[in-house]
Every structure is written in structure tokens, then in C-alpha cells.
Amino acid sequence: MIKGLMIKNGLYNKKGDTVVFETVIFIVLNIIFFAALMFFVWKSASGAGVYEQTYAKQIALMIDGAKPEMTLYLDMSDGITIAQKKASKENIKNIVIIDQKNNRVIVDLSGKGQGYSFQYFSSYNIKIEPVGVLLRIIISDKKDDINAKT
């Protein structure tokens, strides 16, 4: 009866229901949109590209600042975590490559043969070995290698 009176007097038109529904949908869509954007930003920050560049430059500077008969260690736990998600098991062993012919450090965490390379100016012999999450860098004089061979 009350409802009938309200309809008669034009007071019951359901506009209140639709306004609330539309507003809720609008807010939810906005939240989803901005959440997706924030996820994209977070993904970029924790991506392989940033770590590849950082590690390549760190290793090159360590090599250039070192002397023969030095052994250096670099913690690569973050890079290995990324490589384990992106690269195959065989490629994890090759995430850091020392190109002695061109004097370049190449770090590839994605395992796709890409990565980041940085040059060093030392003429010493460089040998790298993964030791758990650490990278062992062994510096030796090239003359030691020649003597060892003879």
C-alpha cells in the first residue's frame, strides 16, 4: 500500500539503486586499472634488465680494480632468483660470461642469448666459477699462464 502510494506520488523510481550500482562498478574498475599499472611498475623494477646492467658493471669494475693472484666474490642471489624463473637449468651456469678476446663481461639472466655487456681494460687472465649464490672471480697474470703452459 505504501509502495503504491509512493508510485502514485512519483516518489519510487529506483534511481537510488542504479546510482549506487554504477558508482560501485566505476570505483572497482578504477581500482583494477591502477592495480594493473602498479603491477607493471613493480615488474619493471624487479626485472632482469636492471640486474644485468648492475652486475655487468660491478664485475667489470672489480676486475679493473684487482691485481693478479686475487680472488673476488660477488653475491648474485638476486640475479640467480631471476634466472631460475626465466632461464633453463643449463643456461643458469652461463649467466655470466667473460669474453677475454674482446675484454667484455656479459650478463644474461633471461637465457635468451641477449643480456648486457660491459668492457674492462685489464689484460689479466680472468676465470669465473659459480659457488652457490656467489660468483668467484680469479685474477691471474697472463705470464703465469704462459709459464704454466711451458
Binding site: K57, N103, S122, Y124
Partner: protein
């Protein structure tokens, strides 16, 4: 009489709202990609490492390594530098002067790498001091001076080594397995 309920107006406004959202999303995505794809600039650090390497090669325990005064002194071999890296089109440069107590050269200056860096570094230095135009892709040089002791006519004298070292290396991202 037509009843005007303004519902059409709200639906038209939502198109503009989506356009605004797309513009905001594009701005954030582009800004993020530009920020995280930019290079970390370590040229000054690298130049410093190079100058320290040379200084430590010339001075051992506070004394001048007398081998450096020989005319046939091979800096690349003695200081562990790869001569191919300091050839034509190099990203590095160094200039070394060994001076006695009277500030006179004890031997000819030794230099290697890209010779144009000496002038280019002055442009970079002026740029960072606010003079001239902004030099972004120019090399960065550092000057390192260290005092040493040496024997002159049976007496201990003091001189210094002055090293100017420069770097303009930016690093390279490899695509499709290429270097």
C-alpha cells in the same frame, strides 16, 4: 513533452573518462620504461679506477718504481692494461706525467687511448660548472696526483705523479645474441 533524464549525458562523459585513463596509463608506462631502461653512469668511477691502477703501478710503497723512467718502459705490459682496448676508437684515455721536486718532468709524458678526450673533458667540466652547453655524451676525466720518494745523488728527494684518466663507456645491451 519529452522527459529529459540526463542519462545520455553521463554515458557520453564516460568516453572522455576512458580517454583520460588511457592517457594516464600511457604516461606511466612510458615513464617507467624510460627510467628503467636508462644506463647507470659509472664513467667517473671507471676513470678513477684507471687512474688508481696507473698510480699504483708507478709508485710502490711510497717510492717511485724506477723502471718507469726507462725510455722503453711498456705501460700496457707493466701495468696490466690491454693495449687493444686503448687503440683507435677507445672509450678510455690516460696521460701520465712524472715530476721531480722542481716540478720538472723526469721523463716524457705517457699517454694512451682516445687523445681527443683531453679537450672533451674540459667541455664536460665546464658543463658541470654551469658554463657552456650541457655535455651528456662527452667523456668524464679525473686527475690523480700522488707524491713519491726517490734517490737523487744519494739523497732522498720528493716528486709526484700526475695522472689524467678518462672514460666514455656506456655499456651495451645485446639483442638476439649479438655482441
Amino acid at each position: 513533452m519529452l522527459k529529459l533524464n540526463k542519462k545520455g549525458g553521463e554515458k557520453l562523459l564516460s568516453i572522455w573518462w576512458f580517454l583520460v585513463l588511457i592517457i594516464i596509463a600511457a604516461g606511466i608506462v612510458i615513464g617507467t620504461l624510460v627510467f628503467y631502461s636508462s644506463d647507470v653512469d659509472i664513467r667517473a668511477v671507471e676513470a678513477d679506477v684507471l687512474s688508481n691502477r696507473i698510480v699504483n703501478c708507478f709508485i710502490e710503497r711510497g717510492h717511485l718504481n724506477t723502471v718507469v723512467l726507462n725510455k722503453d718502459f711498456g705501460i700496457f705490459e707493466k701495468c696490466g692494461l690491454n693495449s687493444n682496448i686503448f687503440g683507435k676508437g677507445s672509450n678510455f684515455y690516460f696521460k701520465i706525467g712524472v715530476y721531480n721536486e722542481s716540478k720538472k718532468l723526469m721523463r716524457d709524458e705517457i699517454s694512451g687511448g682516445q687523445a681527443s678526450f683531453l679537450a672533451d673533458c674540459k667541455i664536460t667540466a665546464d658543463s658541470s660548472n654551469g658554463k657552456g652547453t650541457k655535455a651528456v655524451h662527452y667523456p668524464i676525466c679525473v686527475t690523480n696526483e700522488k707524491v713519491f720518494l726517490y734517490y737523487k745523488n744519494g739523497e732522498i728527494a720528493q716528486g709526484y705523479v700526475s695522472v689524467i684518466a678518462g672514460s666514455n663507456q656506456a655499456g651495451k645491451r645485446n639483442f638476439m645474441g649479438g655482441t
